[in-house]
Symmetry: C2
Subunit: 214 residues, 2 copies
DNA sequence: TCACTCATGTAATTGGTTACATGATTCC
DNA sequence: GGAATCATGTAACCAATTACATGAGTGA
């Protein structure tokens, strides 16, 4: 299971469940997320399997903390996972399902509204990732001119660990940019259809050939 | 639940569970997938809720078929869903998690191999979607010159239902192209790092400023 | 006869979400 | 005194995967 391995990866240095939750919310949220109610039992199980060990330590603020660290078996397991094949998940994208069937509505305005909201959501996420990238750049002293070109600038200045983390951020940025572009392409096409419809009436355009199936 | 609504959408015309499975494998697999063992109980429940009705009919080949069709309540439910907000899923991408922690391996060749396999997988998927697009284009009589430009060519020739379906295919293509690009960018950076390392030894390059957090 | 496709289902398990329970400390 | 944050957990539920069970018809 991936969550287990991600926890092992994060426990490069010792941390509590609560700490790890914060990690999910901060450095890793563009490709994974977990609730506390999932993290705590997962850590427990990993400890039972001997991949982690834990200590209860008093907190500076609030109740006691259970702090976990990896065992040798844990590092071994992590390494095995890192060397295993990449698995490309088959994603389930409900908004594409909606759009796929939205022709039934016979209301292009509804589709446009839908796509505009989608673009808004994508653009917001993209802005978040780009802000993180800019922050990194600032911290590494990369001039802002180098920023718009591509991610190459940073990749030469950092050590291997940071480099690998950074590439995953780049993936998020690539991905969201392409989604925003797709939204724009689709909105253009929708507007064009609407415009044509206003001119030539409600007909569904030229020849109407045989049904095409994907 | 999305699966329910997707089934309702597919049942625009009557079909059996087995038929619907084929639909998932064919026209819809770039954004959703379901096993038969999930489809059958889902259909049953939808019938119990009065959104579908079914008839058992003899098959031309093999055992009897249970053919479902939507009720008025079903169409109503579908429409409500189509008019509801798009929800952007938070995705869990295990290969990004692997890459994120792969710096620990201290072996850039391993990272390169990983990225090459990833690119291979992405490129294969992309080729599938592009082939489907080309097939559509052929069926609509669009000249192949128009193909490489963008998806605009087709969107003017088809009716609203096909148009909406087509836009989801475009999203898959956009998305996969951007992933392949990201793989290339990352591979370039990895090669550059390796080359530099061969020249200047194993050092982790210039200043090594304070730890940066995403 | 054997493998394959057509066809329908159930059961067990996994991974994840939502809801619930508890309690200490800090800051307003 | 009350809200917010720190901190750890359990229980119920939901969606999806994997494994299992059954059997008719078709073509080599």
């Amino acid at each position: 299971m991936s969550l287990d391995h991600i926890l092992l990866g994060m426990l490069h240095k010792p941390a509590s469940g609560y700490d790890l939750k914060r990690e999910f919310e901060q450095s890793v949220r563009h490709f994974w997320f977990a609730e506390l109610s999932q993290i705590y039992p997962a850590l427990k199980k990993l400890e039972q399997r001997g991949l982690l060990r834990s200590d209860v330590v008093p907190s500076t603020r609030g109740p006691e903390r259970r702090v976990f660290e990896t065992t040798d078996a844990g590092s071994e397991e992590l390494e095995q996972w890192l060397l295993s094949e990449p698995l490309v998940p088959k994603d389930r994208i409900s908004y594409l399902a909606q759009l796929f069937f939205m022709g039934e509505l016979e209301d292009l305005s509804a589709s446009r509204q839908f796509m505009e909201r989608l673009r808004g959501a994508m653009a917001t996420r993209l802005a978040v990732l780009e802000a993180i990238e800019a922050e990194w750049m600032g911290a590494m002293g990369v001039p802002p001119e180098a920023l718009r070109v591509d991610g190459g600038a940073l990749t030469e200045l950092v050590d291997d660990r940071v480099f690998h983390m950074y590439t995953t951020l780049r993936m998020g940025i690539h991905s969201l940019r392409s989604r925003v572009e797709w939204c724009n392409e689709t909105l253009d096409a929708l507007r064009a259809r609407q415009a044509r419809r206003r001119k030539f009436g409600d007909l569904p355009s030229p020849p109407k050939k045989a049904e095409v199936q994907a």
